[in-house]
Symmetry: C2
Subunit: 213 residues, 2 copies
């Protein structure tokens, strides 16, 4: 297989052209107003399944863009997710990304209570004064904890990007968020990941930069 | 869909049991000595394609474990990859993870030469006194640069984890490493990612901790 000679700054553009063409070849139609985001998830994973499983609550794109514009914080459930989000773009609106998963006291509290670190992390994030966008790419227990706080009327997340990956409780946890009134972008099924969570955040940030949303 | 009540420290074990069972149901046989690694890639992505596309040079597992045991450095092509690798485990052998992608002077040099930051990063990594395991989850240009240095007899990487993801030159770049004598673990095709690169490193580190390799 031959190398295609292409300038560094044109690689991403060319990738999106290929994705667009293949969606067409595969006969997959995606909503135009969400295409930038769905295509970026495919770009991040080379997995066209995302075109069929990414699910959006009503006006999800408008809502998340407004939250970012108001300076909302993004809370991730992995440091990989934190690492992948474009913090320079986010900072333009006064936002920042936080992750509590590696905090020593979070690990200690989780162990003593017999819960996951993600559960404890969500409780901490719920104490922020600012609005929070949760970008969950790993732990279904994070979503389960957000639902618990919602059910007990302790806390309502401003937005949930729910794309944990895996085999235990992942699909059920996603369903638990989709049953609520919380605005969300969720990838139905088992797939997802911290890379996908970051890609979704970045897709929104780049589309905001272009002035499209 | 119901939540399965399971202790936090048993979630991973249960996930691997499900993966093992589904591989069997799907009639996919994987080599026993590499099962720990292939299953971890599936665990990270919920994508069974990895069982069929992960490709190993002869004795790849033994070689990478020996390198880590000797204190080899791991160089990644994203900060997400760096973030995902278990640095505590690696430090037990004197190893560390490095990534040059976000260095300001790397970006400047890349722009002035019209190459990618990954290209410049690989050149910098090649100057280390220590042996280097390259864990490439994003940039095919990183693999292309490693091959160039190899062809020009400037440098031979000790090991390449080649799992960039994407649509432009990704498959060709993986082929370019597989044609050499460099020991490798490569995911054929378009799929991969920084999460997969980190998962492969961690699979090896955890198997070393168990004393299995």
């Amino acid at each position: 297989m031959m190398i295609e000679h292409i300038k560094p700054n044109e690689i991403e553009k060319r990738s999106f052209e290929i994705i667009t063409a293949e969606l067409c070849e595969r006969g997959i139609e995606i909503p135009e107003d969400k295409a930038f985001l769905i295509k970026r998830a495919i770009h991040t994973t080379a997995d066209f399944d995302y075109a069929e499983t990414l699910t959006f609550s009503p006006d999800a794109i408008t809502i998340i863009a407004s939250l970012i514009r108001e300076g909302a914080i993004i809370v991730t459930d992995t440091n990989m997710g934190l690492s992948g989000i474009n913090k320079t773009e986010l900072a333009k609106y006064g936002g920042e990304v936080r992750c509590f998963m590696a905090d020593k006291d979070v690990a200690e509290e989780a162990a003593s209570r017999g819960v996951t670190r993600a559960t404890v992390s969500m409780e901490r994030a719920a104490k922020f004064d600012k609005k929070v966008i949760f970008a969950i790419g790993n732990a279904p227990t994070a979503l389960i904890e957000l639902r618990r706080m919602y059910d007990e009327k302790l806390y309502v997340p401003s937005f949930v990007i729910g794309v944990p990956v895996g085999f235990v409780n992942v699909e059920a946890a996603k369903d638990m968020i989709m049953e609520t009134e919380i605005p969300y972008i969720i990838n139905r099924g088992r797939k997802g990941g911290s890379n996908v969570a970051a890609a979704i955040c970045n897709a929104v940030l780049y589309e905001m930069r272009k002035g499209n949303i």
